[in-house]
Symmetry: C2
Subunit: 571 residues, 2 copies
């Protein structure tokens, strides 16, 4: 192949594809240049004046390297990798560092394998990070446990790119044996380890970094960014649906900017479709934060490639991977043409590749297991007295509060009639334990039945909320029946549901039809009272995430995150 590259570079043979008359971003010198960009096979072979078998006129366009998303959970889109690609590739993203943490909590290593195989033939390089913290805590029942030993045996696999965000920072700094085994295994395999260390500073940060961890996407302050970069980390500027820190771009300067990269972490399909992906981050950086556009592009391309050791990627130069995006300008970043590994794969925001044939192995389907059909009695909450701990959501959406309330009981069950309380339940769905964690929630607004979903971070049991025991039971049973997804059961027994067949997290359907149905269901939830400040289903999904304060509900019971131990509902 080298021979063909070289001959085309010297114009002895025609290039396969030439982007004619392009202004392009030279990320190495930080400048705009002008010329034809010649491509042979998957490589750029030259810039200058070239003829191609195929030519694309880029006279009024600016060409930039394909974007790299430095950290993303595909599952958060609720889409299959194929449909996810269909949304982001036309936006200009050509490489993602994907951490299939969610599906691995449900399906174990089979979840990683699924994401890898489903991505194999896409015009998107999906680099798979082996999730490092499955489950998120040892207190809950997840579909899988990835021990140090499991990491040791899987990290070496060729399809595994590195070790995913190491969220268990207390485990690192306290030298948990199994945690260290995971880190050592990643080093032994020569693979990169992503970090996740919100508000970890000083000696604790030194200790965390001694695990050999390279990146962080949780920075929120200038001081945090400066300390982390000065200690050798790469810092992700994050453009997720709910978690955002684009403003961190203000702390970039000419000396430190090579250590900044972009990521989305968690981004919903609606945002991807309506606003965009890394392109939207670039647009907002340039427009809202006045980031120099060439610098912003460099963060999204060369910097990420350097961080993740992706050689000959992220720049426009001979022998570099022909991942190219022709945009209208460096303000709007509207992608007119997207070239992945030398092939035109999207035009005017539309994918030119077919994703209708999807990879869908048995072992990521039918992942909702209940020991028995649930009944109304399973949702009785019998208090010892009249005071109970009640969960609330703090403004912002993922941190919860704990209030002590006077609660009435009737026939051995709490009576919430006439209050703004609802029952909350987490029904274990992986191991047939029969576990049901139960609690009370205040202020969601829903009334007249039950609402539920099989996405419940990070173990993804069934999480339900409602004012009617029979509806709660029916909601759980329905979710089992449809193989996972979202459900609303009215007090009358009427059921409205949407299936997320892949691990109960994602749908194998088209993005478009899925989103339509999803929106209908969400609107129904709001119509039944869910306050607009909440995301009807996704706010539920975070009520079980026991690594974020304060009070959470696991399948095993109420959990006090600050004390990192279970707590009794009776106050």
């Amino acid at each position: 192949m080298l021979e063909k590259y070289i001959k085309a570079a010297r114009r002895q043979i025609k290039a396969d594809l030439v982007l004619k008359n392009a202004t392009y971003v030279d990320v190495f010198c930080g400048e705009l240049r002008h010329g034809d960009i010649a491509v042979v096979g998957e490589k750029i072979v030259g810039v200058g004046e070239y003829d191609g078998k195929t030519e694309i006129d880029c006279s009024n366009l600016t060409v930039v390297p394909g974007y790299i998303d430095g950290h993303v959970h595909i599952e958060s889109s609720q889409l299959s990798p194929e449909e996810f690609a269909k949304l982001i590739v036309p936006r200009g993203t050509t490489t993602i560092i994907a951490d299939p943490h969610e599906i691995t909590n449900v399906c174990g290593i089979a979840g990683c394998e699924y994401i890898a195989k489903a991505s194999q033939n896409l015009p998107l390089d999906v680099k798979i990070q082996l999730p490092s913290c499955v489950p998120a805590t040892p207190f809950e029942t997840s579909g899988a446990i990835l021990s140090g030993k499991d990491v040791e045996s899987n990290i070496k696999n060729d399809y595994i790119f590195g070790l995913g965000e190491f969220m268990n920072y207390p485990g690192v700094i306290n030298c948990d044996e199994d945690v260290l085994k995971k880190l050592e295994a990643a080093h032994a395999a020569g693979k990169i380890i992503d970090g996740h260390a919100p508000a970890v500073y000083g000696y604790d940060l030194n200790a965390y970094l001694c695990g050999g961890i390279s990146t962080d996407h949780e920075c929120v302050t200038k001081e945090e960014i400066e300390e982390k970069i000065s200690k050798g980390m790469y810092v992700h500027i994050r453009h997720g649906s709910s978690t955002q820190n684009l403003g961190n771009a203000r702390y970039m300067n000419e000396r430190n900017f090579r250590r900044f990269i972009l990521c989305t972490d968690d981004r919903h399909a609606a945002d991807l479709k309506e606003k965009g992906h890394i392109d939207d981050a670039l647009r907002r950086l340039v427009k809202e934060y006045k980031t120099d556009p060439v610098t912003a592009v460099t963060c999204a391309t060369l910097n990420a490639a350097e961080c993740y050791n992706l050689k000959f990627r992220g720049g426009i130069a001979p022998f570099w991977l022909a991942d190219l995006v022709a945009v209208d300008n460096l303000e709007n970043f509207n992608a007119k043409y997207v070239i992945k590994s030398g092939k035109l794969v999207a035009k005017d925001g539309k994918a030119l590749f077919n994703t209708s044939k999807r990879y869908l192995p048995e072992n990521v389907l039918n992942t909702v297991h209940l020991k028995k059909e649930l009944t109304a009695n399973d949702f009785i909450i019998e208090l010892k007295g009249t005071r109970a701990k009640v969960m609330t959501i703090e403004p912002g959406g993922v941190v919860t509060g704990c209030e002590i309330e006077e609660i009435k009981s009737e026939n051995g069950d709490v009576s919430i009639k006439g209050t703004d309380l609802l029952k909350l339940a987490v029904v274990e769905r992986h191991k047939n334990t029969g576990n049901i964690g139960k609690g009370l929630f205040k202020g969601y607004g829903f009334c007249g039945g039950a609402i539920g979903i099989t996405i419940a971070h990070d173990s993804h049991n069934i999480i339900l909320m409602g004012d009617n025991n029979a509806a709660l039971a029916k909601a759980a049973n329905t979710l089992k029946q449809i193989g996972g997804g979202m459900v609303i059961v009215e007090s009358s027994g009427k059921v409205h549901s949407l299936t997320l067949d892949i691990a109960g997290l994602m749908s194998s359907r088209d993005a478009e039809s899925l989103q339509h149905d999803s929106r209908t269901l969400i609107e129904r939830a709001h119509a039944m009272g869910v306050k607009r400040e909440y995301e009807a289903f996704m706010s539920l999904a975070f009520l079980s995430l026991a690594v974020i304060p304060k009070l959470k509900l696991l399948d095993t019971g109420l959990f006090d995150v600050e004390k990192f131990t279970f707590t009794d509902i009776n106050a």
Copy 2:
């Protein structure tokens, strides 16, 4: 080991070594910071306030990461790797990218292995590049030939870091089959390829880069640097003994400086001892070229580490390799302490390690092979007429000229008596071919015998110059007898010599005593008339380098570099 790092980072146990109260260069943010630098084993574990089992007061010192020489031929020092390390480590260099091109031309792969093994236990990381162009041209007789097949079978070895400077750029751009095989093999092994592309521009440069070549150390103009960097290359700023381009630092700016690294390429022992190594480059960059010192240090450390994919090296941060240099200040760069992989290995310019026990395998010794004892008759030059091509040296030292001269002959041999001509001969010493290339040289100044050396780029045959056939023969025979080195034979037959026992290129002796004897011999050559504008022996060594214009002498005959073919002495 991670456990120990982490505990020390959190100050639960003492660090092994602490550099107390240091000002240090943060290459990530491009700033100076202050604190204690704590080290455990070979790693930095933290910056802050630390206690150590051993502590070094750095109150008045500035600590920088250990320097990386991005491209060097150890052989040019004429020292063994052990003695080379003894000179450069106390200067602050802790990693070198070494291309054993010279010794491999003599000994083949055994030369690479020797450099690797001799370097194994040194406090210096020697990353071995497999020489890519052995021999430099197919027209001469070298000790070894590294074909594409040889590269294929050797590049995969763990001790081989990458493929050395690809000097044969015509071979690359003309798609020479064997050349492409070498490049493909390096890519297949996932190893970096160093470049060497003087004045290669435009489409030829595009083509050269399509070989997948990453670096260049031959840039001389602003335009060349800009083009090479914009096409994705790293550019070495070179601080060799004769080849220098420190001035290229003027073309660094805040946007492109990450693509600049430092190297020495070829540096003599005397310069290393008297002026220094990378430290001297830094000193001169700051003093003469007004380079920002933090930027200069970053080029010599983080930038090189990034270029060569040396992760966790080249910066002062937790988990990064504890290669540290405490210098007096960022102007003089006098190294007070050098720490390599966490161990104090030099203090006040003196090595604290012992190199007296040297690795010296049989297969790099006794490398001078002559078919038979040479006699005066072997050096007769019989011309067809009276006009001959005569070699000269252009100002600068390595480019030669060709002049046509009227030559007298006597008894079937040229007669140079009363002229400023000398006989030049290249005697093949590897394969017992009996080849002797003969020519005439004008203006060297030497008279009264012969002078010779077994260093003759790049095939390293014996190169001799003199005005006396018997002395020329005796010089060759002496070089065989002493196993390689430098020699002067007076017309009287008196011999003065210095042995370079390792491949005829390097000495296994101490730097100090070798230099003393070498200087004595060089001074004797000048005393016998060699003009001061020449380096008595080393100028000779370049008269056979057939990749630099214009007229050169090979063991196979006179060679016209511009026509890239042999040429007859008769004009």
